[in-house]
Subunit: 493 residues, 4 copies
């Protein structure tokens, strides 16, 4: 390993990856997904479309799922713990009649008390029924909540969404659009909001556009989704992403484009491109797979290493590995294979069996890596334990050298905008130098993509600060007020 | 059949009965049970005791069950749709740690949207955590709700309980006891309330004592329950019923006996004695089985008929039938047998099979009734269809005469205090004379117990109006303001 | 307690009872039910009728259920662990097409390996498909099995039914009726057999008629069932019981009445009348409830005791208690109440809670028994622990005296004919004198019905040995060869 | 499309693929997987190892799973319908004690009647307990079965495995090893057998070695598996594949290498390399991923086409696509993305929704393929409908040209050795010319790998007929007697 590589960037460690974008089993440390939202206006099969849409967004949350529809007279909703395919069946989906719908998948910890938190949240207030689904996190939710309680409000969930519902209900404006604007003007953070009444669907994106939020069409119907892949599954067409601070209203008059605040600097979450989003999604008209492939190519330029094969940690690093291979001419191989059948109910091996080598999720392919110098591409390192495990898998399978290339800068800071991150003391890149990390994960060399390389790979917006991306987790620069003394929280959904 | 009998009382028909006190299958028309509450203060196994207590109260509600416990620091709760034994298991019950608890079983219609209504409701408000469980119905909940919404409140359930929670949270009093008093002084109706905070358990009964509500002890711990049978199952001892308008507070100082209002006329629901409560429960120190047996004896005095055997419609009319037999010397027989294994998932017979005679719930025993004159005791008639069916069962099994004796007066008016009754047009006694009912149910004679006989049988409180009972469903006299133009509602829980 | 009573009969103890005829929870010791069979020939809804029929027979077996139907071409079958309502649902019942069916409920211990034992067993042999369902036990099954294995047979179950299937398949006769006769002539024991082929239904009863087995009609269709109550639930009519040694064949030619052996002494199991069968069933044209009521009256004649009330241990002793009350004029009361909602998934109270008095299944009603002298009627005593518990329940509820009357003689010997009994060392009546039992169960007096009284109460067949009943469990006289050195086994189904 | 390509090979169409190797949803036509077996001898955690081993073999069968263990005294087994993780849980896995085990996953159609077919089959015969698990199909099972039935055998399953069990039980040899040899000498076909007794584990492979069957070690314990990936998951080491006709015996004396017949021509199933096996498995010391990559390279040599990108139909064609890209220098892209969360309970879209474009399993990535000439690699074409659908997906996403390259020859004949194939009339390659297929699937060009190319890519064994592979499905040459007039059957397990 050359000094040049480890001296490049500060300190970082801890690899992570997840199960087909959204694993359940917790065998490896990883970043937690936030949530996903989906909306329909003006389609007779609003619930079915939502069902398929949520399915495409399943990687953004596996712990609960919910759909709320509206017909002319009533709301109909069903929420449950589990995967979309577990929550919905022929007994409940057909009851969700109506031509508009909002829907949600949520990542969270287990426990019934959390079912109360499953979204969409549905409320009654003075103007009638209201349903709300969110992806994101408010940094001032705690303060607002305290104020509301002082005024006699009661809360049934711990979600930021309920806070916003209270602000809407207490607004001096009777009109729902005005009331929503009023509410959003009081909150700070990262969010994609879908709000449903019996005759309106409202979509709003935070003033920095931190979270992804796309609009699409299916015939005359309008669709909204956290990721554009949810449009593909229902045969819809991606139109555009919402703009920072934008508020769109759909009702019998069609689409009204409005704003609840002046737009501020666009700062899309870079981790969506690096890790969270599906490779077939486009965010801001940039395809995620293509962005990742460019990261792999850039990695090859920044830190070439001669080797016999390139392999990616499946699935999220596959695209970057293909890019690295293409750039260098080193063959791309399936050196690591993920077991497709892992999942929630899989019985955990005992400590004894684990030590004997029971490997539930990932295997290194001996015939492929034996006697070979391997470049292993991963998208990030969180705690470092998983990286060590994977490097050792490759070595036990006979790899003679393992060179680790990470398609993002060292992950050193908590996220305040909806990604559930460990505290700084558990982030290896916040605690160790790169050389120390390299030793900790037993790699022959280690390199992290530069922040400049990252932004260029995704697609720098010229003249926009930081190229138009939030990279707070890498560089500790946040685009809103944050209270860093607090523990960062995950998704406030 | 003698004229004397059918000319006695106005109009009524429609028998009902239920499944072991609490049937699921809806094969027969019947009155719906209201709900049941259970509370514990000062016992290390508060959740387990609640679990067994709810089990004993299962006949009061089979659609959802919930327990909320408090330890020094936190609330722990779990609620679900289904029977107590289905909702709770080894995965959730042990997580409900703490020495105080409130618990609830709820009767309701199906549908997930109703899980939100499962109690105890758990809220956060400015003073911390609050859990509430209720049995009963508020007659002015709608008006209060409207006012609260005008002030910006949002509602997540349709239950009266959430209304009271809002009133508590918006009270000018910070002290929870004062706030609860404040809230209860604003509501009108029939209710037994249990309210839990981290260090207090509050129990309150409506000013007329319409709903049953008992206090017991188990060692040093205090228990509360809708019926005293819930104390027996946990080995506890019945102490007394709460007084109308009483509010009891348990905290580290032990029991404080208080009131939130001046007591008004005691008017215990007579239907609890006639039909709802378990025969082994005592309400106001009167055993339910014994009261029912006295009703049967009184029926025999009021309307003797010579016959070969007496049989009761199981299970709720068994006690009255035993009384009738004892008084007259006519043998008591098992002429009707209920299938013990009916239940929710039982596949319904098709119309063709039903016409061929598939009888899921009840059989007449041919060898017992063949060639015999039968006295059939039932506790009430709601729509009349079930009575007709049972009379015909007996005739098909060879009974030569069927004399129906009902251990309560004709059921003619809706209940506003928590019992889910059909509208007047579906109450046969509100539509027909007794002679017409007799014909409609194909009986040889029919007699309803007089209201005087009923009150005497339960136990008339001398000098108290109507002997101390609410008989609104029989005589249309309600003890509070009611808005009879509205449809009566069921349990407001 | 008078000496006259305890000196009457030998030795016995151990009460038992069960849950609505068929409890799951094992909180009390009790005799295990055997199995139940049901058959249909010539009805387009054969599977649905079987489903309801099994439901009525549910008390005879709760561990597995199965139905096999035949149409002109194929067998269709489904079997599963659990209650009838749990095993069958809209996904499997409609697949069971055909106009003939045999069905089975089985009592057994848990464990998947036992699913293989669920009946009907379905085989292919040289003549095609064959399904068999049995209630009973063969005393020479072990010997035959060994012989078959020597000849190269393989066995997939431990049931006697598979033994008979092998005998049929290996018979020198190709005709199924001849082959069945051939097979049954080789086996010894107690059994009711239903055998289905694509065009025939065969029913056969053992040569002593030990097990109950009734034939009924529904329109032109023929029905068979272990108890006649299964005909009532489907609207069918009881015709007669099968005769000992009889073999009935149904095919396109209608009913053929045949025999496979000369009839031997009729010896119907007395325990069916005492405990197992439902009170609304008729066995050999004798109604079970009426027989039990006569046992109670006879008990009153044999061992009157002055008291304030009579109560039965629910549910199986209710009829006898009514008879005792009627004979003596002592009031019959609900002194003991069974919780209707107990069942398999009910969480067991911990030892601590049990000691504190958590009572899951049965409560004594304080207001009824307090200060009273109680006659408690039970149907039998097996180990004695349950009797002690119930007597103590009554005493703790304030009973001043508890006089126990048992409606059968002391249970002292194992059953070899299908009833799962403990070994002799666990049968208290095989180990203690009646006076010792009285002390062990803490009763003021104890009396067991005489065998003569029992047989008279059921209905003595004049000129037939032992009145036509098997009472081996009381008097150690068995009607076939038995190998008493072996442990008695339960149901061989 | 050039003529050269379509004129190359006969006729074929119909692509297929499956869900992570083993999809449930049947949205696309595909070849059915056969079964998988796993065995352990001499390890205290035999059941746990089997559980993980089955997990790795899950792609070979998703309909049922079973494990049978043996300790010194008893067999313990559990089988159920569903995925390994659904069948086994903490309630049943720990009951499977013992140091040896055999286990099975089975592909099959749904229906309870099929639970009887779940393996391992467990029998009792004259020498005691016997459990058998198989992967494969016997071509003369029907004839033997008929003969056995004539001799009085009864059958409870439709599996070939039960036939072999009968042959063992009826063998003149008492010794189990001799009896197994005797039985296997009578059967013809393709099979990997695992046979368990209380003290022995026997493994046997058919005389042509048609099915894969590997032996491994974990410490001192021996392992067997249909694929070597099952050794990796438990930390075991691959030793070697069984030889054709070999019979291995493990008992207290360790491993005995034996044969039941003279070896015949090795003829390993080529489809295992092309499609069935996991890429990380080695079969006969040849890695599957590497073989597939070579097929892709060979395809590129045989039928190069200039294009902008190469994409594979996930997941089974990924390796070949990488090979094609590497050989040609055309970039490899994720042009098609599979939804990871599809599965059994996924609600099917209605016809209307399907027509509107709801795509459950696969999406084309517009940003990747738009305006591009695409080479699409798939492993085979069965009916052709799926290929058409995928080509159209790519065109709708903007691909200007779609060139299909198939990494195997046209699939024209049924398999008699365990792979469930449609009848010839449904195999498009048996009905159409390649040019017709090209048109049918709407491709710009179409090419199938030559058989020579296929065998070279996997690894031709010099001097062995057909290079050592069975390619009957391509060239109609079968290595044993087959009865082609019969419908080919699937797995006989």
């Amino acid at each position: 390993m050359s000094d040049a590589v480890t001296s490049g960037k500060g300190l970082w460690t801890g690899s992570y990856y997840n199960e087909g974008h959204g694993g359940h089993d917790g065998l490896f440390d990883k970043l937690k997904e936030e949530c996903g939202v989906f909306g329909v206006f003006g389609h007779p099969d609003a619930a079915s479309l939502s069902y398929y849409g949520l399915h495409a967004l399943q990687h953004r949350g596996q712990e609960s799922a919910g759909i709320c529809t509206a017909d002319a007279d009533n709301f109909h909703y069903f929420r449950g713990m589990g995967l979309v395919k577990e929550v919905f069946d022929q007994s409940n989906l057909p009851t969700l009649v109506g031509t508009s719908a909002i829907a949600h998948v949520r990542y969270s910890t287990a426990g019934e008390s959390k079912l109360a938190n499953a979204q969409p949240l549905v409320f009654k207030y003075r103007e009638g029924d209201l349903a709300v689904a969110t992806n994101g996190n408010l940094v001032n939710a705690g303060e607002i909540r305290q104020q509301l309680e002082k005024q006699g409000s009661i809360f049934q969930t711990t979600s930021d969404t309920e806070v916003v519902a209270h602000l809407i209900a207490r607004s001096k404006h009777d009109d729902i659009v005005d009331a929503v604007k009023d509410a959003l003007q009081q909150v700070i953070g990262a969010y994609a909001f879908l709000i449903l009444t019996k005759d309106k669907l409202i979509a709003a994106l935070d003033p920095n556009g931190l979270r992804p939020f796309a609009m699409g069409k299916l015939g005359d119907a309008y669709l909204f989704a956290s990721e554009s892949c949810a449009f593909d599954i229902v045969g819809g067409t991606y139109m555009r992403d919402l703009l920072p601070g934008e508020l769109l209203v759909l009702d019998r008059n069609g689409l009204t484009e409005d704003r609840f605040t002046e737009s501020q600097t666009r700062a899309t979450c870079a981790m969506e491109y690096i890790y969270f989003a599906r490779p077939d999604s486009d965010i801001d008209a940039i395809n995620v797979h293509s962005a990742r492939k460019r990261m792999g190519k850039r990695l090859a330029s920044e830190a070439f290493v001669d080797a016999d094969l390139v392999t990616g940690v499946p699935d999220s690093s596959t695209s970057a590995a293909i890019g690295f291979a293409e750039q260098t001419g080193i063959p791309y191989e399936l050196g690591l294979i993920k077991n497709r059948y892992t999942g929630r109910t899989f019985i955990q091996p005992s400590q004894e069996l684990r030590e004997q080598g029971v490997k539930m999720k990932l295997s290194a392919v001996r015939k492929v890596v034996e006697g070979k110098r391997v470049v292993m591409i991963d998208d990030s390192i969180v705690r470092g334990t998983t990286s060590l495990r994977i490097v050792n898998l490759l070595r036990e399978a006979g790899a003679t050298e393992v060179h680790v290339r990470i398609s993002s800068p060292p992950f050193q800071n908590p996220c305040f905008y909806g990604i559930d991150t460990p505290s700084r003391k558990d982030l290896i890149a916040a605690q160790k130098t790169i050389e120390e990390i390299r030793q900790a994960i037993n790699a022959d060399s280690l390199y992290f993509l530069t922040q400049e390389g990252l932004i260029d790979s995704i697609g720098r917006k010229d003249g926009v600060e930081n190229g138009g991306f939030c990279t707070g987790c890498f560089d500790n620069r946040y685009v809103t007020y944050v209270n860093d003394s607090e523990n960062a929280v995950g998704c406030g959904c």
